[in-house]
């Protein structure tokens, strides 16, 4: 039966909605039980407080404090790094002459602190000499005390230049007797104070490689910088796979160089692959981050595509951190965390409560207005808003678990405002149904025809909203991204609700006697809507009786096609039971 199809479709749509809601609830429940998710969304800095981290520049001996341009640049880079770890709406500002204050919600872990403070200056240097680190048990537990022997100043007895000028970066002639003496006496435990991160690029460098546990495994004499990190155009992290494409289970960082970097990298790997990987350490290419060697792999082949991968002692988290850092560039200066303190909310609970009260008042006003305008149909609006509210809540809770999304007061306001935008979809739809009723269709026909037209309009208009959300989310930084996420989320949920809830409910209601007979309280009373067709087999004279008077001519001119069709039908068609064509109006 043709009549039963919309009803069946309606139940199917509602079932889908139930599946989606149950699915989202399931995901969140999983997060709550097995992970650190919570049923309530997390709150942002302004409502919940968090941590205030003060960063001070790490300056070498006699180095001038950073310029304000450098500080601004550092703030911008730190912001991008924090943004990349999730949508947490951090607050980052310079303080005084040289400090940077980062306020983030929640309690930052080690990884977050590292993400913020380290400069992430990446350099590729060829290995000239290497050896096992002299001290095997150093690192966080040891207390490095720079001794005179550790960082020796070249004494006059040792020549500071070699006998021959070096020809390329791998040339052992870079190593003067004085440098070699320094290398021999270098204690990796003093690496943190040796300022290797600010070493000049054109000079050889003595440094060490750190293992996962923080101990130093190898120490190196490296040649001058051959490829510098600022030629990296993109970086990502992932599991490294072997030559057969099978995952090796170790995490790495994948780098894409720009043209300059690609060229330089090809030249260097060409030279290095000429050394024997088994006997000559000069075959190795050290990847140096902030003055420390991450890894120094052997060069098996010439890399010409400019897409090397860095393996080393990475975890999933630390590889992502490094990739994000490399992507947004190195900080112009290194910083050190000076203080890390908890900070209270600036707004607090009273503001949030007021916001929620305002939202409730707004919602009640919307309900009253909807009932006033659309009678019982208004209840459909209210029910749709409630369902939309439930889905939005679930999504926000899930996003705050997975993406670090945090609800600020502005975000709460945005959600309240979304009530109005969401309700508009229903209004557009209802008005279309009413238009169809006015054209003389029966209710089920009006619901289907009105839906077709309304959906087109809703899609077009919501596409604009979604576009703005996506563009702002991708291109903007800071608070704007949080806003874009909220807008995009509510837009998608809105469309979902109108398709999977509002329309099916109307399809079902259209099959009930109360609505189909056009009860005055249904909000779809064809009589009140001045319909030309009233119920089964009853036509009323269409509203163009006044066409003979002067003013009426204008009205006749403004008559819609459907009206003219209906007029033609009543005039020409003697089979009074025939409905007006149901698809004549679709373009």
């Amino acid at each position: 039966m043709a009549r039963s199809t919309p009803v069946k479709k309606a139940w199917r749509s509602l079932a889908w909605l139930l599946v989606i809601t149950a699915g989202l609830t399931g995901i969140l429940a999983y997060g709550v039980i097995f992970d650190n998710a919570s049923w309530a969304p997390k709150l942002a800095l302004d409502l919940e407080g968090g941590a205030q981290i003060t960063l001070a520049p790490k300056l070498g001996e006699g180095e001038a404090s950073p310029s304000s341009e450098q500080l601004d640049q550092a703030v911008a880079i730190i912001r991008q790094r924090i943004d990349a770890s999730g949508v947490s709406e951090a607050e980052i500002a310079t303080q005084g002459a040289a400090n940077i204050v980062v306020s983030i919600p929640g309690t930052p872990d080690e990884e977050t602190l590292r993400r913020i403070e380290s400069s992430a200056k990446l350099e590729f240097r060829p290995v000239i000499f290497t050896d096992v680190a002299a001290t095997s048990a150093v690192g966080s537990t040891a207390t490095p005390a720079p001794t005179a022997g550790a960082t020796p100043t070249p004494t006059s007895s040792l020549a500071t230049t070699s006998t021959a000028a070096p020809t390329d970066a791998s040339d052992p002639n870079w190593v003067s007797p004085a440098l070699f003496d320094e290398y021999t006496n270098f204690d990796c435990a003093t690496l943190d104070t040796a300022n290797t991160n600010v070493a000049p690029e054109g000079e050889p460098l003595i440094t060490c490689e750190a293992a996962v546990d923080g101990t130093y495994t190898y120490k190196y004499i490296l040649g001058p910088v051959e490829v510098s990190g600022d030629t990296i155009s993109d970086a990502s992290s992932g599991l490294i796979s072997n030559s057969q494409g099978v995952s090796t289970g170790t995490w790495g960082v994948f780098i894409t160089f720009n043209d300059k970097g690609t060229r330089e990298f090809a030249t260097v790997t060409e030279r290095l692959s000429g050394f024997d990987p088994n006997s000559d350490s000069r075959n190795r290419f050290a990847i140096v981050l902030d003055g420390k060697v991450i890894s120094a792999p052997t060069t098996q082949a010439i890399i010409t595509d400019g897409k090397p991968q860095i393996s080393g002692s990475f975890t999933q988290e630390s590889s992502k951190t490094l990739a994000d850092q490399l992507k947004f560039g190195a900080l112009p200066i290194s910083f050190v965390v000076q203080s890390n303190e908890t900070i209270s909310a600036t707004l607090g609970a009273s503001q949030l409560n007021s916001g929620i009260i305002a939202g409730l008042i707004g919602l009640i006003l919307v309900v009253i207005y909807s009932l006033f305008q659309y009678r019982l149909l208004g209840m459909v609006t209210v029910a749709s808003l409630v369902v939309a509210g439930v889905l939005t809540y679930l999504m926000i809770a899930i996003l705050s678990w997975r993406q670090g999304y945090r609800l600020s007061l502005a975000g709460v306001a945005g959600l309240i405002v979304a009530i109005g935008f969401t309700a508009d979809s229903f209004i557009v739809y209802f008005e279309r149904i009413r238009d169809e009723l006015r054209d003389g269709r029966g209710l089920p026909g009006s619901v289907e025809a009105g839906w077709k037209r309304a959906l087109r309009t809703i899609f077009a208009a919501k596409a604009v909203n979604l576009l703005s959300a996506v563009v702002l989310f991708v291109l903007a930084v800071g608070n704007v991204r949080g806003f874009a996420l909220t807008l995009g989320l509510t837009t998608v949920i809105d469309v979902l609700i109108v398709i999977l809830f509002t329309h099916p409910i109307l399809q079902l209601l259209a099959s009930t006697r109360f609505f189909a007979s056009g009860h005055p309280l249904s909000g779809l009373d064809p009589n009140a809507l001045g319909a030309v067709y009233r119920g089964r087999a009853q036509f009323r004279a269409p509203v163009l009786s006044a066409a003979k008077s002067g003013a009426g001519r204008e009205a006749a001119k403004r008559q819609t096609i459907a009206e003219r069709k209906a007029a033609a039908l009543t005039g020409a068609d003697t089979r009074t039971g025939t409905k007006p064509s149901t698809d004549g109006k679709d373009s």
């Binding site: 302004d46 407080g49 601004d72 703030v75 911008a76 912001r79 980052i92 500002a93 303080q95 204050v101 900070i343 209270s344 707004l347 607090g348 009273s350 503001q351 007021s354 305002a358 939202g359 707004g362 006003l365 207005y369 305008q373 009678r375 306001a413 309240i416 405002v417 109005g420 935008f421 508009d424 209004i427 008005e431 037209r453 077009a460 208009a461 604009v464 909203n465 576009l467 959300a469 563009v471 702002l472 991708v474 291109l475 903007a476 930084v477 800071g478 608070n479 704007v480 806003f483 009140a528 809507l529 001045g530 509203v543 009205a555 001119k557 403004r558 819609t560 096609i561 109006k585 373009s587």
Partner: protein, 337 residues
Amino acid sequence: MASFAKFGNDLYTGARSINFVGRRKLWYAIAGVMILLSVLLPLARGGFVFGIEFRGGSEFQVAGVADLGQDGPRADAQTLAADTVTGIDAQASPRVSIVGGDSVRVQTEQLLPEESNQVRDALATAFKVDVTSVNASFIGPSWGADITGSAIRALIVFLALAAILMALYFRTWKMSVAAIASLVHDIVITAGVYGALGFEITPSAVIGFLTILGFSLYDTVVVFDKIRENTTEDANSSPRTFAGSVNLAVNQTLVRSINTGVVAALPVAAILFIGAVVLGAGTLRDIALSLFIGIIVGTYSTIFIAAPIYSQLRENEPAILAHSKKLEASRLLSSGK
């Protein structure tokens, strides 16, 4: 209510019609005056006032405060600090938080050196600590040039993409032009009201402006979709001129526009009321004001600006001109009879 439905019916059939398109000169004149005022009034007040998030400001940290427990006294301490600062400079708009367990951080507008000293003394007295434990420094903008820059870049990209999307969907670039024109109108007026009232531009207000941008375009697309329907379906056989068809579409969607405007504005009005009356200045008031004005202006401009501009842009196309002439001729013919 029945009368409102009747109103809707009459608008739909054309029995009642408000001449939005025909009286466009009047609407343009009103828009012109509004835009002029939106530029002049803020200028007369000395330009827009940007918040501490944009300009940076003064920061005071009161260290070693006793009795800052986890729960109770915190809120009191925040009120105490805020009141202390506003007692010296009412325009300082302080933001107070508790840092660590025992210090109070106050961020204010950039203060003059003597004011800054007064605030230090006052804070020291209020929290019963030595003046030396109150540390004053400058705090840079947390909404830096990089955020503004990226937001503006994103906006330009969005407007360009939205214009292309609309041009493709409606199959005419003239709708894009009309929609963007009314969008600019909305933004200028919303910002103008902000400036004229002397409200501080805060990040919340900016977020509000961005929302308005979306709403304005959204509302225009809904009405334009009806215009597209009316003008493409009848095209040459229509008994109406092009302007007449556009006007009918606006009239037919008028009830929708009013209902949507009201429904969107109601929750915002509630936030505005709670924000401004109960809480005073703050995030809620900032965002609600820009939204409230923006929703009203956005709904208004679709009807009074976007539709007439679109009609005007198309009226002189040869096909449409010919159609109008034909209608004009037949009208003269029938009235001459």
